[in-house]
C-alpha cells in the first residue's frame, strides 16, 4: 500500500517543470478556465492537473487568483469559460454541494464556522450519508442514533488531534481565530474526502501545533487521499508538499518540486523575496532602507523616461 503510494510521488519525478504539465495519474484536470471581475482577469488558467495521492501546494502572491480558482473548481463561483473534471467526470456547472459529495471538499480562507452550533455539532455536521439528515427518517431517533454515535467517536478523535477537545461543548462562535481554522479543517475531514482543498489552513495557527498538524496532513496522504493547499508559509510548503504550483496574476507561471520552484529566480522575485531564508535581524535595517531607496530612485528614473 505504502509502496504504491510513494509510487504516485515517485511518478512526479518524471513530470516536466512546465506550467500546466500533464501528470501520470491526475485526479483533477482542467483547461482554459477564466474568470474576470470587471476588467480584472482574476483567473486565467490554460491547463492544470493535480496528481492523485500526493500533496500539492498552490502558492503565489496575494491576489494571484488562488482562492478564486478554488471557488471555481468547487462550484462556488462560475467561470466565464472553462472545463474541468474530477476523477474523469466533468464538473463544470455542477453545484457546490454535489462537488463536495463527489469527494472534493474545500475549506475557506476566511473561516466559516457555524457560530451557534457547538464545536462537536460542527464536526458531526461534516459526516456524509447520514440517515438522520433525511426528513422522513429524522423524526425517529432509532433510525439514526447508531450512525450518530459512530460519527461522534470519529469527531472526537479528530478534535483531540486538533487540540480542540477542551472546546467540545463550546459554541464555535466563541473560538479564537486560530481555533476556527483548525475546526474548519477538522470538519472538512469529517466528510472523508478523496481530495481535500485547504485554503491557507495554517494561517494563524501556532507553530508547535502547526508542526503536529503537518504530520496529520501527511498521514492523510498516506491513507490515499489527495491534498491541495494554498499556503504562504514556506516552511510548511517545503516540509510537506510533493509538488508546487505557482500562480501569479491569474496564470500558472511555474510548477515543480518544492526545491526546484523555490530556486526559481522569478518565483523568488515575485513571491518569496530575497530574504525569506534569512533572519531579519541579521539584515541590517539600514541596508534594507538603502535598498528600498535605491529601488525608489530607479523607479523614479523609470517614470521620468
Amino acid at each position: 500500500m505504502a509502496a504504491e503510494l510513494s509510487e504516485a510521488r515517485a511518478a512526479l519525478a518524471g513530470v516536466s517543470n512546465e506550467p500546466g504539465a500533464p501528470k501520470p495519474d491526475p485526479i483533477v484536470k482542467g483547461s482554459n478556465i477564466t474568470r474576470t471581475f470587471g476588467g480584472l482577469k482574476a483567473v486565467d488558467v490554460e491547463h492544470i492537473e493535480i496528481q492523485r495521492g500526493v500533496i500539492t501546494a498552490l502558492i503565489g502572491p496575494n491576489g494571484a487568483g488562488k482562492t478564486t480558482l478554488f471557488n471555481l473548481l468547487t462550484g462556488f463561483d462560475e467561470p466565464n469559460e472553462g472545463d474541468w473534471s474530477f476523477n474523469g467526470k466533468s464538473l463544470a456547472k455542477v453545484p457546490a454541494y454535489k462537488v463536495a459529495r463527489r469527494g472534493m471538499v474545500r475549506t475557506f480562507q476566511l473561516t466559516k464556522v457555524l457560530s451557534k452550533l457547538t464545536v462537536i455539532e460542527n464536526m458531526r455536521l461534516g459526516a456524509t450519508g447520514q440517515r438522520g439528515e433525511r426528513f422522513f427518517s429524522a423524526a425517529f431517533k432509532s433510525l439514526w442514533s447508531s450512525q450518530e454515535d459512530a460519527n461522534t467517536t470519529r469527531a472526537d478523535e479528530l478534535l483531540a488531534r486538533f487540540k480542540l477537545d477542551a472546546k467540545r461543548e463550546d459554541f464555535a462562535g466563541s473560538l479564537s481565530g486560530g481555533q476556527r481554522k483548525l475546526l474548519e479543517m477538522a470538519r472538512a475531514l469529517m466528510v472523508d474526502p478523496e481530495l481535500i482543498m485547504l485554503d491557507e489552513p495554517m494561517a494563524g495557527v501556532n507553530p508547535a501545533l502547526k508542526q503536529s498538524l503537518l504530520g496529520h496532513v501527511k498521514s492523510l496522504r498516506d491513507e490515499g487521499r489527495t491534498v491541495l493547499f494554498v499556503e504562504h508559509d514556506m516552511d510548511m510548503v517545503r516540509d510537506i508538499s510533493d509538488w508546487v504550483i505557482v500562480m501569479a496574476q491569474g496564470q500558472i507561471v511555474a510548477e515543480g518540486t518544492p526545491k526546484s520552484v523555490m530556486a526559481d529566480q522569478r518565483v523568488i522575485d515575485a513571491y518569496l523575496g530575497a530574504h525569506h531564508d534569512t533572519d531579519i535581524t541579521e539584515i541590517d535595517v539600514a541596508d534594507l532602507e538603502a535598498e528600498a531607496e535605491a529601488e525608489l530612485v530607479a523607479e523614479a528614473e523609470e517614470n521620468k523616461s
Partner: protein
Amino acid sequence: MTESPTTTSEHDKHVANAEGAVLRADNLIAGYLPGVNILNGADLYCQPGELVGIIGPNGAGKSTLLKALFGLVKIHEGSVSLKGGDITNQRADQLVTKGIGFVPQTENVFPSLTIEENLEMGCYQEPKKFQERFEFVTDLFPRLGERRKQRAGQLSGGERQMVAMGRALMMDPSVLLLDEPSAGLSPVLQDEVFVQTRNINKAGVSVIMVEQNARRCLQICDRGYVLDHGTTAYSGTGKSLSNDPRVIELYLGTLGQNTDD
C-alpha cells in the same frame, strides 16, 4: 532567575521593570461573558520606543489582551494606563485620540468601502494628513494604490491584510497594537511588514504585536511575552525566548529550524 521564570516571578519582574512604561497593563482579568474570564491576571508593559511581541498558542488570549488594552473587551479587574494616565475601559475612539492605533486580527477592513475610503477612515480625525500618509502607504503596498477604487469586500485575503495594515499606518499613532499583521501575506510582503514595523518602531512608535510567525516576531522584537491560558507565562528578550526549550516545546516547535537539510 530569568532561566526559570514562574508565573509569580513573572509578575514580580513586571512590577520591577514596568516603571515609566508608555502603555502598561496590570493583572488584567477580562472576558466576553459574565463569569467566564479569558484573561486571568495578564501583565504587560511597553517602554517608549519599544517593540514588544506577544506569542502563544491558539486561544491563549492574545487577541483578547489587545482588545482589552484597546477598550473593546470589558475589563473586570486590573488596570491599563497610558503614559501614567488610567485608561481602563475607555472607549476605543477616545483612545485613538490619545494616540493608540489598533489592527484587529479578523474583520479588519470595511468591506463596502473602497480601498481609498478604508484608508481615509484611518485618518478620520485628521483628514488633512490624508494625502501624505496615503502616499506613504501606497508606496509600501503599491497594489493598494492601483486598486484604490475597488471595494475592500472583493479583495483577496492578503489584499485585505494590506488594507488593514495600511489603515493603521494612516493613523500615525504613538502606540500601535497589531494583531497578526502578517497573516495571509505572501512571504515577501510578510518580510516587508516586519521590516516596516521595525522602521515605524525605529521612528519612535511603540509597537505591541501579536504574531504566529513567531520566529520572525522574536527576531525583530525587543522583548517578547509568551501568553498561555490568559496569563503571561514567560517573558524576555526575543533571543532568550526563541531559545528557551520550554517555549519551544509549548509553542514554537521545530519546524523550519533545519531548513537546509
